[in-house]
Symmetry: C2
Subunit: 516 residues, 2 copies
């Protein structure tokens, strides 16, 4: 039913655009109840307003901790306008109806940016505000709840349309929004506490996200999609787009896969090229130019139209080389002025500065329908002290460093994963196969196709043990001379024997890196 508004309670920390709504309230002779800063603002803007304490007859106390938590306020919001007993009780107490509640919460999130003082942060947990918002949203049958100044305009339209009244449909939508807000607000507080107390797997886990963009579509054109940000600190993504079309769902998906690998390289300039969420090339090198060239050479066919992620500042030289082909997205830790000018020429290519991107969470989550799997991120490569040198010939220190690179890249390839590497650059990646032998074959085929000479004396990494010797033999036949793998198969002996027979070097890490 359409409802008339008699009294409005306003308590907002964000006082922008208040005047617009106050004008309309005055027009429809709606009384305003308010307190503290909002009360002063309303008066200053020249509108009539009653203090909450005057309205309830109860002095605000405890530095404002208790002011609206009063039966007169909550009865006014919560009573059922259609129930005779409710109306009678309200009359007896001389309580009036409160039909519009406009409330913002204490800025909990903002307090996290301003201070590390826990007591000050906790002081910013709003108690009275959420109580009123929840009460008003529960009773949206009769009450309007506004939690966002962006809804002022819709409210003004609505009340003008219905001459001082509002429709149930309108009130219900605002109630849904209000409960999303209270859930979101408490999720942030819970997350802050869980982080503080290092609780990674709480009994009840809540993810909260604020929509930052509606995407053109999802993984495919017939799927609608949006991207959300879930952060206790930031209000927007740290991907700073400098040029090009809007990012698509698949762009984001590839970007995320690329950043994961990029963050694992902390010493050298590194380039990673992603296609369909798998790396098709990755290379580290003292020269950023060479790292790009090497990453691209790994599989130039797949690299076309891929996402390129660079942990360095892009120079003119690199930009010129990049522009010789087409990439959907270029990610880098900054761009020289001349480089940016060159890259901006391709209007379809998205150019993104990732200087401010950093990891926020040490947990990954996979959601499937009404279940989700929570796990710690795979943040280790291997422990040098626990390496097992299982073959007769042992690798040198330098070789172990190169093997570490191979194993690290392999970790980010979808399982089953094989990465063949030469000079800190992939030359063949076997991704996403249902058995290890197939991954070995694909990795070898790629290397043979694009850089066959580099196969000689190359290094291969496997994300999990070889269940049989067949996969290893495929790698050896192609020229691989050093192998890094977790070990742990019941047929490890058979695999070690094959390695020794071919006189190659193999180490076991004891650490598996499945990634699906």
């Amino acid at each position: 039913m359409n409802r008339k508004i008699k009294n409005a309670l306003i308590s907002v920390s964000d006082k922008k655009d208040l005047k617009n709504i106050l004008n309309v309230l005055r027009k429809y002779k709606i009384n305003i109840i308010s307190s503290g800063g909002t009360y002063r603002s309303v008066k200053k803007l020249g509108f009539k307003c009653k203090e909450v304490s005057e309205y309830t007859g109860f002095d605000e106390m405890l530095d404002g901790r208790v002011k609206t938590l009063h039966p007169k306020i909550h009865s006014g919001i919560l009573f059922n306008r259609k129930k005779v007993t409710h109306k009678k009780q309200m009359m007896e107490k001389k309580f009036e109806s409160i039909d519009l509640v406009i409330v913002n919460f204490y800025p909990f999130k903002e307090s996290l940016k301003k201070t590390f003082n826990n007591k000050k942060i906790i002081e910013n947990i709003d108690i009275g505000g959420p109580s009123m918002v929840r009460a008003a949203a529960k009773n949206c049958e009769d009450v309007v709840i506004i939690t966002d100044k962006n809804d002022y305009l819709d409210f003004i339209k609505e009340i003008k349309k219905y001459k001082g009244k509002t429709s149930f449909n309108f009130r219900e939508k605002l109630a849904a929004k209000a409960f999303s807000l209270t859930a979101f607000y408490d999720s942030m507080i819970a997350e802050w506490y869980n982080q503080k107390l290092q609780i990674k797997f709480p009994e009840r886990k809540i993810f909260f996200g604020k929509k930052i963009n509606q995407l053109r579509y999802g993984e495919n054109p017939h799927q609608k999609s949006s991207i959300y940000l879930s952060d206790l600190k930031y209000e927007k993504s740290n991907l700073e787009q400098l040029s090009g079309k809007d990012l698509s769902y698949n762009n984001y998906n590839d970007i995320f896969a690329g950043l994961d690998i990029l963050f694992s390289e902390k010493k050298l300039p590194c380039t990673v090229i992603i296609k369909h969420a798998n790396p098709c090339g990755a290379a580290s090198n003292k020269s950023s130019f060479k790292s790009f060239i090497n990453a691209q050479c790994s599989d130039p066919v797949s690299a076309f139209g891929g996402v390129v992620a660079c942990n360095y500042k892009i120079t003119k030289k690199v930009a010129l080389e990049m522009n010789r082909t087409f990439f959907e997205v270029i990610l880098a830790k900054g761009f020289d002025k001349a480089a940016l000018k060159i890259l901006k020429k391709k209007k379809n290519m998205r150019v993104i500065d990732i200087s401010n991107v950093e990891y926020r969470s040490d947990i990954t989550t996979k959601i499937y329908d009404n279940s989700f799997l929570l796990q710690e991120k795979d943040q280790t490569i291997f422990d040098k002290k626990k390496l097992k040198f299982v073959t007769k010939t042992k690798p040198t220190k330098n070789e172990i460093r190169d093997m570490e690179f191979a194993f690290k890249i392999c970790k980010y390839v979808k399982s089953n994963a094989i990465a063949i590497v030469k000079d800190n650059a992939t030359i063949g990646i076997g991704a996403g196969q249902q058995n290890r032998l197939d991954s070995c074959r694909i990795a070898v085929q790629k290397a043979r196709k694009f850089q066959p000479k580099k196969l000689y004396n190359s290094i291969a990494a496997s994300d999990a043990f070889f269940p049989f010797a067949d996969g290893l033999k495929t790698l050896i036949s192609a020229g691989v001379k050093t192998v890094i793998q977790p070990g742990g198969s019941i047929r490890d002996k058979e695999v070690i024997d094959a390695a020794n027979k071919a006189n190659i070097k193999m180490i076991f890490t004891g650490v598996r890196h499945f990634n699906h």
Copy 2:
């Protein structure tokens, strides 16, 4: 600081185990304040108790909607015990401290099971409870907040240890739990409203989950992990395990991939075998036995140790066949008694009844660090009316039906995906490659290895268009005679020409099925 408790406020819908805690409160001379059903229970158990209305001097009103929303209650919880001004105000008002709050909420979720009457559901949205819980949790510096009867025992230990007091560490943990609960509670309400109003991409999206199991480990042994259930209706997973070891993270991941495919086949008995989140075999057949055999023949090497998902009841004949090799998990819509007896013999094999599993959500989500991508599920295959018959030779109705099966399976293979199919059974799957040509090659290699004869006159499906004719030519050379793909490449003409030259049949669906 350790804190003594003077007054406790108790308001619980779950009255189990109340006696244990009441005994301890009496021992330490703690006064009890309560109302309604809790008040009656406490009295009945033979303990002293003061009614909330007697305590506040304010009669409960509006059928209990307003009783604890009173300054005397909230001041008692919220005042800062160390602040002189706060203590002075409390003295002036003759308000006392409330140092322990034990509250359960109205059972909102349970009400969803009991009724479809929205008003009754909304009546079960608790307002007073969450207000007290949030106030007590905010002030955990001084107040104990218990929201779960499973914490009674810890509380009893704590208060005995500190002789009537509690430690800050203890109170803070309970506060973290309390905010998780209020966030969870409001998330459910928000989700209920969003479903009701068909809001798929709300401004603020909140996922809530209740831990149902701590897993042995995550994707790899060095990662901790747990599985959560996020459901407005159920309290536990609908996967009913009948036998075998506990499910692992990777089991769940493969199960979810398998169910997705299985749900897409509604007519015929269908078997899907999953390994590393990709199908390595899928087959539909009037005979469930044949569907299993065909699925396994597609890639018997990869199938070993996989997850088998069946949309039918498993008979003795199928069970005997299954037991000839090893699978990690068998999922089926029921098991004959004899079949179950056979399958249970393998102690390591998890046997799971999926009869009660159903889709709950039409949204999928990918979480990456502090971002997440929300999209509608890919719930279409193609629109028969929009098929384009692009080659000179056109497929028959029966062939189109077979092509639909091929395209459907292809949809669930990780992109880039190629599925080669014969008689409603995959014979070669090319998964997860960074370019389409490689996926074509892998699919052909698999078919050649295991069932080369079936390649003749087979059907191939591609999840996205062929960017060049090379991939298609690879399929044609292997014996493929019918191809289904979305179309839409700038080189479609080149691809159609190649198809016509080889005199094969090809249709364009206009629908892409990327899946990463």
